[in-house]
Amino acid sequence: MSVAGAPSLLQATLPTWILLLGALLTALLGWRVERFPLGGHRVIGTVAGAAAMAAAVGAFHGVTPATQVALSAGSGAVVADRFSLFAVILVCSVGIVAVLGSGTATERLGARMPGYHALLLTATAGGTVVALQWEMGALVAGLALLLPSLVGMVALEKTTEGAGEAALAQVAVGGLCLGVLLFGLSIIYGATGTTDLAVARTALAHASPPLEGLGLALTLLGLAFLVGAAPLHRGVLAVARSSQGAVAASVLGISVTAGGIVLVRVLVSGFTASLRPWVVLAGVLALVASLYPALVSLAATSVRRVIGLGASLQGGFLLMALLGSGTGRDGRPEGGVEALLFGLPVFVLSLMASLQALGILEGDGVGARVADLRGLARRSPLAAGLLTLGLAGLAGLPPMAGFLGRILIVQSAVGGGYPWVAAGVLAASLIYAIPILRILAAIFVEDDEEPALVSGAPLLGVLTAGATAFLGVVAMVLAGPLTFAAHLAALSLR
């Protein structure tokens, strides 16, 4: 990795700086200018997100065909390659969706809305750092920016008891996982003598377990938290259960997106699939992370809990994709990275769509128990439709793109030589469909005497939720171009 100067570092991290600037501006305006319209914060957030994406595209403009790396800066700590371009665009897109969909949280957040937007942009900035990093220090710096911001977003809803508990759960589990991750990275640093993931990759290829294996295992365990995989999913469940719909959608959307990106960057480009210990561990973890939430969801009576468990189950799928991140007997890649990079946005979209739809319903006074949704299709057809699309995507039911994401990940895991993991995770996914069907039955089939709902949700929030839900179908139709983009991103990791 070539060493570049300061201008290069600035250029490579320009998306992050733009987002931080947006966050600062939002915070200042919220603090100093009374009655600054909330729409203005959304405009700032959206413009910052779009500008960050444009900056990433601009940085990538000078890509070197041989290395696929446009910029390498900070002694290789950050890079602008095809993967980082894909990842930055993904993180910023999720951030923009979160900003646009925040309207339904206005009532709950009140005067803290500017702070919420500032934290949202800071978390997105943290996401861009982990997308651009290729070094342990930069990774930890990105997580240090990301995790407190997410906790802060949850904690801002301090008027409700549940939100405070959720923030505390996030701090506890997040802190534990960050510690585990640091411990794992420290062991790897000790074994290889470098914090550069690319150099560590070469060193680890000739390393011998068990010490390095322990380091890799701890790293994986720490990263699993970010994607909400069980048994470290308590924070995800707490946020899904207690936070306002739009807030939960933002927090979990950014967290899972960043987690998926880090998984790929660290474990695929950093440690390669040839190192068996962590691959086997990833398989076991994927099985646990899928089967546990699926089985628990059968007894769930709260829609929020079902969605939280679905997020955790999707984390299991993302972990399973790592099993197919190597090459097959014929020397060709198994496609696990491409599957993960296709699955990640569609999983996040369905998660955010479900929670945003719940946020709309929450504003209209509808509870989150399955029983509360009886006759929803008659009372509020639009909200029922949005929730249905989100939940169907979460369960991987056709015609949502989550279905294709699951197929591709299963395919890559079987190709990677782990059909037993694929069978288990697939079974978990299908078990999870049962509670989703029950919810759909409550929405469409079970009647109650409640009058039709007159929604008071802001139009932009409804439109954002609608677009997020509908994108799940669009992604299925446009799977060809999307998987092509994922393929290009994956190329720079090999």
């Binding site: 097959g328 060709r332 890649p333 198994e334 496609g335 491409e338 599957a339 299709a377 439709g385 169907a392 039911l397 056709p398 015609p399 279905f403 294709l404 197929i407 591709l408 299963v410 395919q411 079987v414 190709g415 059909p419 694929a422 069978a423 697939l426 079974a427 299908l430 078990i431 469909a433 049962i434 069907l437 759909l440 039955a441 469409f444 089939v445 079970e446 799977a479 060809g480 998987t483 092509f484 994922a486 393929h487 290009l488």
Partner: protein, 520 residues
Amino acid sequence: MNLLAQAAPSTATTTAGANFPTIVFTLMVWLPVVLALAALVMPERTAEQRSRIRALGASGAGGALFFAIWAVQTQAAAAVAGNGGGIPSTDQLQETHGWLTALPFTSSYQLNASGVSLALVLLFAVVFFALALAAWKNQHRVKLLTVCLLTVETSFLGVLVSFDWVLFLLFWLLPVAPVYLLVRGFGRGEHPRAAGRHAAGTLVSAALLTLAATLISFQGGARSFSMGGTPVTLHGAGTGVAFWLLTAAFLLPMAVVPLHGALLDLEEDGTGVLAALFASLLPSLGAYGLLEVAVGFFPTTAVDLSLFFAVLAVATVLWSALAALRCDDLRRLIGYAGNALMGVVLLGVAGHTTIALTGALYLLIARGLAMAVLMLLASGIQERTRRTRISQLGGLMWQMPHTAAFWLAGILTAAGVPLLGGFLGMFLLFAGAFPAHRWATAAVLAGMVLVVGGLVWAAQRIFMGGEREAFARVRDLGPLELTYLGILVAVSFFFGIYPDHFTALFINGADHVLFPATYG
């Protein structure tokens, strides 16, 4: 008609028909769901609005039927042309568009249909059209019924013409939510349990199919999800594992013994339209998968395991026959008869000859038509008399002569009486299976005698006897019912009187399953 002469696959190649892009299958598959989406946004507050939704449903099913007939007619003509000395082209209506091309494995939007698919395409399109008309009577949750029915039609037809695993799985899993909602919304008795059992069965079969598809697409060496390259050869135990995965996945919806409980519950607890849908089409979809996919992909393994299928066929037919004889519930009786007929189809699979498989195709059509007629009639009888048990009925011939006539047509179709759809199917199937499994064929024949006896006995108890005061005000079939039942029976007569129109097509399909290498 010299079937044996036609049965031998020829090796010369000919090109038939015009070679231009077509979207017949696309229109046939997607039209219903597009109209379902239109229905979704329509209001259903007034009677007029509900009528519009029903009309949209009938239009969707009618449109699909139109394109199905077009496809069958085109391919049948090509098959007849091919009998002049070459392999008939089955690709005239093929649609292939690249979809996932950047991944290490490829998938495409590929629709095509063999003779096996087309036989069932016609059946499904006809039955769905009849069901869309039958659903016109429904006054409750019209939109839900219409949207779900049309979505299920798209998914069922999609399964039949998918030639890519991803598409196949998509269509296979697509009806799980609509069917669940249909049973929950329009069922009676213990319908939540029945809905749950069916959904679980579909999900399990989808999981098995997914694993089989991944094994096939990876171990086949091609790294493609295309279903066109049959037969498939896998390394080591891969062939056996994939075949069993596929067989198990398709036997689940076929509802053969001992997997028949869930389907019987659905038939018993659903409304007339749903019961007809489940009894007529769901097992046929499983049979299609078993024939075209499991046997078609692994014909050699299927031959090796033909005894398994023969034993399963005997067990299914005899169990169903005995159960039918002691059954007092009208719909359950028909359900058992349908299961028995599916056992006969299994015997055709065990026979593994062109004749037997051609017979199985004719029988699948006849079975589907007969089950739809009988279930719709049974539902009508139960609604009018408010009785569900056969022992509570009697003397209905006086009030319901048309019902009795259609009932007779239904059981005669199922029994394989000449001039009706089942005759040629039974004849070919038994003739084709007998050389390979003599005892099994005899046992299945004996079982079928019992089943037909049970149906006739039930007809006697329902319709014969003196006029009963309790049923004095019971109405006979109305014009709408006469229309859709008439369509179903007319198609049965058409297949009975003029089966030769489809023979070349069906033989072509059977050969494609048994000798895939010949067809490339």
